[in-house]
């Protein structure tokens, strides 16, 4: 990347909550440094650039595209493919794009059962004829269209080729600044790298580990936390050992266990499997492992879409 010409950045969001965008705002005054060194050519939250303009960009026109959000609708899939084509470097930004995040838990269901709950079953909904949103609708005034809602949530890398991953929900601000610095200084690691420390959350956690055997699993509201001892030693499931660091162990520091938003730790292929094996290795017997209620929501809260399991098979 040449030093004379300003770099071209793009930001895009798909199925996400907007928190990744807030994390970008949270660099506060540093955003001015970034803008001084890079032109932002596409940023739906802030700029007047349309899809059409992106379509008109030459291929590889964008130097770095930060893509947040999972892929849930046909429109999001289209944008992922378009931005891949137009970008030299594509960064999966945040837990949704990297791992599917909690939105990926929808893979325990499908479109039909999600619609059923949202538009019919919920007790405040009054919908006796089970009207549901339609992708194409003729009304008396004309036609209205909505994008198709898919059965399965996909991560960005399951949709297109991704160059780098920066997870977290949202990505920690210091890691965002580091990544941008690496881009400016032409010091990006090899393609496929995770732009986060090669550590697990435990490595950043100040709590004392006694490596006790675990004879009973407890829920966080059932214990009197002393604020100092490892949650596992207190009987509480903590995703720290299986989760990528970079957050500074914020949750354990406020006396709540890590729930895994940083995604799989270094050398971990499947975050949930790694956490279950951590549990199995200290449990005094199989009955202890069985005490873990809602294993999917506990161990795969942020990574179901990305995991080996990926989704529940629905019987037709």
């Amino acid at each position: 990347m040449g030093k004379k010409e300003k770099l071209k950045f793009a930001f895009y969001w798909a199925a996400s909550c907007g928190g990744c965008e807030i994390a970008v705002l949270d660099v506060n005054e540093k955003i001015l440094d970034i803008v001084a060194r890079a032109d932002i050519v596409f940023w739906p939250v802030a700029m007047d650039i349309k899809y059409k303009d992106v379509e008109a960009f030459p291929d590889k026109y964008i130097d770095v595209c930060f893509f947040n959000g999972a892929i849930r609708t046909e429109e999001q899939e289209y944008m992922a493919k378009l931005l891949r084509k137009k970008s030299k470097v594509l960064v999966a930004f945040g837990s949704c794009a990297c791992d599917g995040c909690v939105v990926g838990l929808a893979n325990l269901w499908n479109k039909e059962t999600i619609f059923e709950r949202a538009y019919s079953e919920t007790p405040s909904t009054e919908n006796p004829n089970f009207v549901t949103p339609k992708t194409f609708l003729k009304i008396k005034e004309g036609d209205l269209e909505l994008p198709e809602f898919y059965d399965t949530v996909k991560t960005l890398a399951q949709t297109v080729d991704v160059d780098y991953f920066l997870s977290g929900c949202p990505p920690p601000v210091p890691l965002i600044i580091q990544a941008v610095e690496a881009i400016f200084n032409n010091k990006l690691p090899p393609k496929g790298s995770v732009l986060m420390p090669k550590k697990s959350v435990c490595d950043e956690c100040p709590r004392e580990k006694k490596d006790k055997h675990l004879s009973e699993i407890k829920r966080i509201y059932e214990i009197e936390d002393d604020g100092k001892t490892c949650f596992w030693d207190q009987g509480v499931v903590c995703m720290g050992p299986a989760t990528r660091a970079g957050c500074g162990a914020q949750c354990p520091k406020i006396n709540m266990p890590c729930t895994g938003c940083g995604g799989p730790g270094p050398r971990v292929k499947d975050q949930g499997a790694a956490a279950v094996s951590a549990l199995a290795s200290i449990a005094t017997g199989p009955e202890v492992v069985n005490q873990a209620v809602d294993p999917i929501g506990t161990f795969y809260k942020y990574s179901l879409a990305h995991s080996i399991l990926r989704r529940k098979v629905m019987k037709k």
Binding site: V102, R219, K301
Partner: protein
């Protein structure tokens, strides 16, 4: 029939669009705000651990995660039949005030406010935070950034994380506030009180002293006579974190006042096939389509909804400003949609004053922050999110896993009102097939007043809105495109 698609492309493409249909005379027949995304939280929260619900549901919205965290925490409190300790409640409310401070600053200075501060006729390129800085000065711009960051920091100290906080759990809070942190918060909050005063003065100088702006606020296309809803304390004063929910009618009479567990008797949601968002209404009045007035169950929430639904503010400076707003705009309730901006600043004042009361309270650093949860059951939690009343309803099984989850989010309540405001604004500007170039600005101002955060359904909350209007003739030939 002509079709006008306003695709607010940059922030709404893929996340929302407005379609306006004209009748054969070329006047507005109908306007649709389409929310094109759904994520399905009500389904995939089923089976999750109760204590995870206040954490998972924050991901509904990264702009207002604290609201979901607190509504979730209150719903699990209720489901476990446990009342948090007094200190825990105060800590939660203090964190909540931090959230209102950053969120209302974000909206006024970055999103909606530029319409007024820079001016509705200013070039779109200037109608953003940079334009505000240019008009008000760089020093003020720095103050804006500083105080938004203060709000985030208060949330981070108490909640553990600024975005997606985690520290509220059944029966209270996970960590007590240290004296050191208390002092840091107090310093920030004192500064926020001054900044809120400054913001109100800025609004006074730039907006209220300008006869044209006041005329615009009071003008017919921006008025909508609906019911209003908001949470109030025992004295019917606005409260963000706790209280009963009060609804007033178009003439300021109390229509109903209810406790959270009764919400299903009051609110119902209607489904339309052209949008993924549901349309709520007052059950007793009924769904009569997109129309205002006493016979239609449509109500509005958010800053103006709350101020209308209450009888005042619980802190002194905010109360004075409250009285001034109603005096200036001709008594209660105010139906002028653009008054949402003013109401938002009065709430910023209240949030800062209330935060100062809480952080100065001797009990705030007490270590008594949790009560023991009882047996799992069913519970409803209601808070006021920045954009309006937020309802979480959980049913737990005997293992304290979620059996059923129902959510009625803030912007959803306002979805019918937003559709009508757009229609009214468009009506005033489209006559006999002639579309005024001012349409974009005015339609945009109409719905931006609500600060619609469709992350809670989709997303169009942050940054400068950009719009495209396409006008088609009967044969679907493109006649005209207005973009910016």
């Amino acid at each position: 029939m002509k079709e006008i698609v306003i695709d607010p492309i940059t922030r709404l493409e893929g996340h929302g669009k407005i379609t306006i249909f004209l009748n054969d005379q070329g006047n507005v027949e109908n306007a649709y705000l389409q929310v094109p995304e759904l994520r399905g939280f009500e389904r995939f929260c089923e089976g999750r651990r109760a204590e995870d619900l206040p954490i998972i549901t924050t991901r509904i919205c990264g702009v207002c995660p604290v609201a979901h965290h607190m509504a979730g925490a209150k719903a699990v409190d209720a489901a476990f039949n446990v009342e948090p300790t007094e200190t825990a409640k105060k800590l939660r409310e203090l964190e909540y005030c931090g959230y209102f401070i950053y969120d209302h600053i974000l909206h006024f200075y970055f999103l909606g406010g530029p319409d007024f501060v820079v001016g509705p006729d200013a070039s779109p390129a200037k109608r953003n935070i940079l334009g505000v800085i240019e008009k008000a000065g760089l020093e003020i711009g720095k103050e804006v950034i500083k105080h938004r960051a203060y709000g985030q920091r208060i949330t981070e100290i108490i909640g553990g994380k600024a975005t997606h906080p985690v520290s509220a759990l059944p029966g209270g809070m996970a960590k007590a506030l240290s004296e050191e942190d208390r002092q840091e918060i107090e310093k920030m909050v004192r500064s926020c009180v001054e900044f809120a005063k400054f913001s109100l003065k800025l609004f006074d100088d730039i907006v209220l002293r300008n006869v044209d702006y006041v005329k615009l606020i009071k003008s017919e296309p921006y008025a909508l006579k609906t019911y209003y809803m908001g949470t109030v304390d025992k004295n019917n004063k606005v409260n963000f974190y706790d209280g009963d929910v009060r609804v007033v009618d178009q003439e300021n009479n109390e229509f109903v006042k209810f406790v959270p567990s009764e919400y299903l008797d009051i609110i119902e949601e209607h489904v339309e096939p052209w949008t993924y968002v549901k349309l709520p209404y007052l059950k007793k009045v009924g769904w009569k389509g997109l129309m205002a007035g006493p016979d239609s169950g449509i109500y509005r929430v958010g800053p103006l909804g709350r101020l209308n639904a209450a009888e005042g503010m619980a802190t002194p400076i905010a109360q004075k400003e409250y009285e001034r707003m109603y005096k200036t705009l001709g008594g209660k309730p105010v139906h002028a949609t653009l008054a949402f901006h003013w109401a938002r600043l009065i709430e910023l004042m209240y949030a800062a004053e209330r935060a100062l009361e809480l952080v100065s309270d001797k009990e705030i650093t007490n270590k008594d922050i949790r009560n023991k949860p009882g047996k799992p059951g069913e519970g409803v939690g209601i808070v006021e999110a920045a954009r309006g009343t937020l309802i979480h309803h959980y049913q737990l099984d005997e293992k304290a896993l979620a059996k059923k989850v129902n959510l009625v989010v803030a912007t959803t309540h306002n979805a019918p009102g937003i559709c009508m405001s757009i229609k009214n604004a468009a009506k005033g500007l489209i006559r006999n097939g002639k579309v005024s170039d001012g349409l974009l600005n005015m339609v945009e101002m109409a719905f931006r007043a609500y600060d619609p955060c469709f992350a809670c359904a989709t997303h169009f909350a942050i940054g400068q809105m950009s719009l495209e209007v396409k006008i088609y003739d009967n044969e679907k030939r493109l006649l005209k495109t207005i973009r910016r």
